[in-house]
Amino acid sequence: MTVSQEAGGDRLAIARRFFDAIAHGRLLGMTPDEATRDSVLARLPYREELVGNPATGVIHGGVITTLVDETSGAAVLVTLGTPEAIATLDLRIDYLSPAEPHRDTFARSQCYRITRHIAFVRCTVYQSAPDSPIATSMSTFMRTGGRRLRRTARVGASS
């Protein structure tokens, strides 16, 4: 195993612990599939309970908000690499095209800048192919705990 594969495994473990700890993400059914040193890919299988428009069967935008928030928070944590508490400061989503019913939805987030207090994340949401996004997002997270709150590690997609 190469060093980068090892690091990727560690990062995926961090992302999995984070997702496992969050009840609301579990309720919707989202899981991380891949992680790198600064990014996370998560999957949300289609379910009837997630529908926003009963006429079309398309999942609700609010479901995408949760997928983006949690996947973006996970990108911050894999980038930090050490347990730390974070909180979403703001998040903006542009809906580029309607989601299609009966398809899994994926989110790829990347933490592209971290300062002492703030982390900056972009996220792309897609279904059929990564280069055909259905939504894009920018978000910022506050580093709320630092080392003093080691016990609250792996948590943070909450507001």
Binding site: A21, I22, A23, H24, G25, L27, E48, E49, L50, V51, G52, N53, P54, A55, I59, H60, G61, G62, V63, T65, T66, L67, V68, D69, E70, A85, A87, T88, L89, D90, L91, R92, I93, D94, Y95, P98, R151, T152, V155, G156, A157, S158, S159
Partner: protein, 145 residues
């Protein structure tokens, strides 16, 4: 689609806003409650374990708060607007001001501009104290055909 528009119109005539919520599976999953209070469309989200995002504080998931507020905006537009179609979200931007404690969240909306095609809606959410807002959001929706 015409069947849905007719159901929406019947619900509006019957004056039963909660029946709109019951048409949206995701709103039911979250537990959204929609009433008119003092003549104002008012949304509430009772606490549920399934809406937790931080089990240690504990605090509500930012996505659950955001999803609740986006539901509120859509339902508000259907209830008060002329459109009988389900508005389609164009963009959604949320600022988190305080952690959501494990208790009921309330939300109300302001339609700042409703044109023939696009509506701009502001949403604010609070818990016990209306002056201590936990999140504000702003969204654009396509409301035409």
């Amino acid at each position: 689609m015409s069947g849905l528009a007719e159901r929406i119109e019947a619900i509006r005539r019957a004056g039963d806003p909660q029946a709109l919520v019951d048409m949206v599976p995701y709103a039911r999953l979250l537990g959204v409650v929609f009433r008119e209070v003092d003549g104002l469309p008012t949304f509430s989200l009772a606490f549920r374990d399934g809406n937790i995002g931080n089990p240690y504080l504990p605090a509500l998931h930012g996505g659950a708060i955001g999803g609740f507020m986006e539901n509120a905006a859509v339902l508000h537009l259907i209830w008060t607007g002329e459109s009988r179609h389900v508005p389609r979200v164009v963009d959604f931007s949320i600022d988190y001001l305080r952690p959501g404690r494990p208790e009921t969240v309330i939300a109300r909306c302001d339609v700042w501009r409703q044109g023939s095609r696009v509506a701009n809606v502001g949403i604010r959410a609070w818990q016990e104290d209306e002056t201590r807002v936990i999140a504000t959001a702003r969204a654009h929706f396509l409301v035409g055909e």
